[in-house]
Every structure is written in structure tokens, then in C-alpha cells.
Amino acid sequence: MDFLKGRYALAVAIGATFGALSRFYVIEGAKAIFGKDFGFYGTFFINVSGCLLIAYILTLATENFRIISPELRLMTTTGFCGAYTTFSTYGLESKAFLDKGDITTLSIYFVGSAIAGMISIQIGVLLARATAQKSES
């Protein structure tokens, strides 16, 4: 039950605070720029950029390009990326398009987020491999 260590919880909590607040401000920003109904532009950006970030960090960590402590990994991935990205908002927004009968936007957003997310994951992996040097360990 190693994961019950307080320091791990603290790391997650700190990352999550930054992640959730970032998410909120990005979505509010999108609404301010594009209009009240366009918060989903923000959600899309968040989920896609969050996928890139998590893939980058986890690839650095697991393919041994960088030594990343468990606390740092938890803070940035489980904490920040996990709280920054959201599946519930994505689902709720998709349902709204369904309700409005806007199948075009639904298809683009619903399917597009999933596809763009996976493309970002792959880019994150490639970026980590391309930009880092193997650490001596």
C-alpha cells in the first residue's frame, strides 16, 4: 500500500489544483473569445494538449530518457494532466450536440477529439524520443 504515502497524495493534489484551474480558465477564455456556446473549443484544446503532455512525460520517464521521481511524475501526470483533461465535460458537450440534432458538429467533436487525442499521444512519444538523450544509469 505504498501509494498511501502522504507525499504522493500531496504531489497529486498540487498538480490537480493547477490542472483544474488551468482547464477552467482555458474554457472560460474560449467562451470569452468565441462565445458562450463555444467552450468546447477550449475542451478540445485542453484534451489534445493534455494528451501530448502526458505522452511526452511518461515516455521520458519509462523509456529512461530522464530520471523522474515518483512524486514529480504523479504531480505532472496523475495530478496535472489528469485534472487538466476531462472526459466528463467532453461527454456532456457531445450530448448537447446530440440534443440539438447537430450531428455534424457532434461527429467532428466526438470522434475528432478521440482521434486527435491519439495523434497527440503519438506526437508526444516521438517528441520525447527525439529531443531527449538517454541518461546514464
Partner: protein, 129 residues
């Protein structure tokens, strides 16, 4: 009702949501192994169910406090559910050559997530207009 109280509401929910996700994930890995991302799958689906429910409740009750909505939906559910872990899980499944499981997880999370939102709304409509 100010920016500071809004931020506190979000942060409080976020810490609870992320820690819930963290502990559920660790417990699930210990109990069920790491071959399939059961925790993220369950978390995203239950989170979608809850968001449909609480969104409908919040819009169906006049005077529903903004801070409560920010605490529960933006803070907790937004941080409890995750898109980035979902994406990386899909990659991990793909790398493990479990093609069927990969397709089920990737498409199923999204489709069942949407179904869960619809279900959450329907349940809430039993209580509010």
C-alpha cells in the same frame, strides 16, 4: 461570489477528484492487474453518469449555487475523469498487441461515456424538470 471563491471551489473539488482517481487506480492495479485499464474506464463512465446528473440538477433548480456547481462538476468530476490517461492507456493497450481490447477501450469509453451522460440526465429528470 468572486473569482477567489470560485477558484477555491474548483481547487477543492479537483483535489478530491484527482485523489479519488489516484487511489481507485492504484487499488484496481493491485486487485485486477495492469492488463486492462479497468480503473480509468470505470472512472470515466461513472464520471460521465454523474456529470449528466449534476448538470441537469444544477440547471433544474433555480438559485443553485455557482460555487457548488464549480466544486462538483468543474472541480471534482472534471479532475476525476481524464482524457489524457484514456489516451495513454489506449497506446499501452495497443502496444500490448491486444487489438480487440484496444478498440473496445478506445471506442467504448467514448460511446458508453456518452450513453452514461444520457442516463445521468434521465435519472436527474426524475427529480427536477
Amino acid at each position: 461570489m468572486s473569482d477567489i471563491t470560485n477558484a477555491f471551489a474548483i481547487a477543492t473539488g479537483a483535489v478530491l477528484g484527482a485523489l479519488s482517481r489516484f487511489y481507485l487506480t492504484e487499488w484496481s492495479k493491485a486487485k485486477f492487474g495492469t492488463k486492462f485499464p479497468y480503473a480509468t474506464f470505470g472512472i470515466n463512465l461513472t464520471g460521465c453518469l454523474a456529470v449528466g446528473f449534476f448538470f441537469t440538477i444544477s440547471t433544474g433548480i433555480t438559485g443553485y449555487p455557482t460555487e457548488l456547481d464549480l466544486l462538483i462538476r468543474t472541480g471534482f468530476l472534471g479532475s476525476y475523469t481524464t482524457f489524457s490517461t484514456y489516451g495513454f492507456d489506449t497506446l499501452t493497450l495497443w502496444r500490448s498487441k491486444q487489438t480487440g481490447a484496444t478498440a473496445f477501450y478506445w471506442a467504448g469509453s467514448a460511446v458508453l461515456g456518452l450513453v452514461a451522460v444520457i442516463l445521468g440526465v434521465a435519472i436527474a429528470k426524475l427529480f427536477v424538470k
